[in-house]
């Protein structure tokens, strides 16, 4: 489903190199976890997949279902099924959460040739998902993420994901800042979306999340590259030993 080939990306304005040759293959129905030290480029990778213009791809390609995403605008990628749950969800004062999500849903439906939903149809459509994520009703009427607690913001991301039903879900540290119950709610939300047609890339620092969302593969990213890949036991090993030993291995290879 997702194929990343030798991806190099820079900060567009200053030219600083961040991604230095990422290779990653994600099949349909799979869950891939990406771990790695702070500043290794995980969020950059997620943002490049989603089409953030702050970064400039200088080499390599990102393919979704065999089609390159690189020439597409962020919204076109979304219409192709790319979803990014932000590490830092953005506040949009003055725009209600429900209005925003309906606008987004209708934009996606329009792109797919489906009829748009009016406010009433939309409310019916999201009822189940609201329950699934245990979202208080008032969070729908408040401005997007404005004044939401850290945990509420993350829950709101997964709620939006559940409503939009994307094909490729990229979760950037959705577990950070969640209390134990919220972590379970969010994991439950993610798991309920798992399907043979949908893939997940989950960026996390903690093995704990992976107890709830069990990955098929675990990757370690360092200095802009994926340097190690394994099964879920790799996450346990990292939890135990940290990143030092991988760093040494990488250094030895050079």
């Amino acid at each position: 489903m997702l194929l990343i080939k030798n991806l190099h990306a820079n900060v567009a304005e200053e030219g600083r190199k961040i991604l230095k040759g990422v290779d990653l293959t994600v099949g349909k129905g799979e869950v891939h976890a990406i771990m790695g030290p702070n500043g290794s480029g995980k969020s950059t990778l997620a943002n490049v997949i989603a089409g953030r213009e702050t970064y400039e791809v200088v080499e390599g390609d990102v393919l979704l279902n065999n089609e390159s995403l690189l020439e597409l605008e962020a919204e076109e990628r979304a219409h192709q099924g790319v979803f990014l749950a932000f590490q830092y969800p953005v506040e949009i004062p003055g725009v209600s959460n429900a209005y925003f999500l309906r606008t987004a849903l209708n934009a996606n439906r329009k792109a797919q040739g489906l009829a748009e939903m009016d406010a009433a149809q939309f409310m019916t459509h999201i009822r189940e998902k609201v329950k699934l994520l245990g979202l208080p009703q008032e969070m729908l009427t408040r401005s997007v993420n404005e004044g939401f607690s850290g945990g509420e913001k993350k829950r709101n991301e997964i709620f939006q994901m559940a409503v939009l039903e994307p094909a490729l879900c990229v979760l950037d540290e959705t577990d950070s800042g969640l209390d134990i119950d919220a972590l379970q709610t969010v994991a439950h939300g993610v798991n309920s979306l798992r399907s043979p047609d949908r893939a997940f890339v989950v960026v996390t620092h903690y093995q704990r999340l992976l107890n709830f969302i069990v990955p098929d593969f675990v990757h370690v990213m360092m200095d802009g590259r994926i340097v190690q890949t394994g099964g879920r036991e790799l996450a346990l090993e990292l939890e135990d030993k940290g990143y030092g030993w991988i760093e040494q291995q990488v250094a030895a290879q050079v």
Partner: protein, 445 residues
Amino acid sequence: MLLKQYERELDKVLARAEGSGADMPAWVKDLKAKGLRTHREHGVPTPKVEDWKYTPLRDFSERDWKVAEPGPAVFKAELPRYDAGSVRIVLVNGRYDRNLSETAPGVTTVSLRDAMVSHGALIEARLAQAGPDTTKTVDREIRPDVFTFGELNTASFEDGLFLMVEPGVEVAPLLEVVHVLCAEDGEPTIAFPRILVIVEDGARIRFTETYVTDGCNDSACVPVTEVFVGGGADVEHVRVQDQCACSTHIGLWQTRQQAESSYRSYNVCFGSKLGRLDQGIWIGGEQTVTRLDGVVCANGEQHLDNHTRLDHAVPNGNSFEIYKQVIDDSATVVFNGKIFVHQDAQKTDAKQTNQALLLSPNATIDSKPQLEIFADDVKCTHGATVGQLEDLPLFYMRQRGVPRDAAEAVLVYAFAAEVLELISIEPVRRALEKRLYSKLGIDLT
């Protein structure tokens, strides 16, 4: 500098006013003569005049303006209406149109010309007197400049609207005053709408004033609106300038507020190529609430200039002023907000904010807040910001599938909404929201 060609027309206007003016009381003729003298004395301001520095009138003054004739009975475009249940009053080229205007119990809505006879003494005491109290603005620092186009209007208007609410009366329906400007193709036509609004003690009314052109035409509108808000009265006044993009609008809007009254005013500017509005509010009684908010959306080659002057002449006044200005393409917006807190006006609480959102690298804003405080125990704040649409919220919305232009529109609306949402008349708010979207070229169905 004078309105060159218009000079010739003026004589015609005056002759007409006098000729058909058998019914015009002598005091009106005197007032008009004085208006003309003052206008001639001051002429059309050049950019050397501080208040006109950013708004050049050269082109305007050199056009060959014809005075607008009474308009046609049939219009090219449908006249606006916000609320199906409202009472709509129509002025065509500045003249009250009896056939097109509705009436409502509890509120007097008549031709200004007729009212000069039926309510002569009242009108003589109020007409052209809603501006700053000249006995209290003798000092040079607070003396208002002559607004020469107000004088020109006084000299030139032939008829207008008189709107009055008797003491204690609460007018239930919304009143919509529609000013429609008609002109022959390719004929620069100038109109002088005049409305006088008197809301007596303890009365309540909500009304809109909308300026439109009938289709696209080359007209200039030089209106004067005067509002007297009586003691304890409650008034909400929404002024919408939505003329076509080749027209001109140079208006004066003055209000006097008495004790314990509430006056919430909103200045919404979407239209005209060249637009200038001077809004003044004189707070002459204590314990008042005043709003003078603005939403300005300019694009293309538009030049929209708003000057506001708020006089806190007595203690214990609360005023709020928020201006939200959206500027695209190579449009220019000018904002000048003066607040005078007079020496007696202790315990004044005045807040002013003006914010501009630039959507294009060629968009320009010139803004100047001007707080002049002569009392010592007051709370006054002002703030001005100029910004662009932020990259991150845009990306966030686009990531969710919202196309870029729609995402921009949503963010622009959110910016302007802080003011639009203060308007308590829901159908008006909705219509303005829709109009803002359509002006931004967005079809959000």
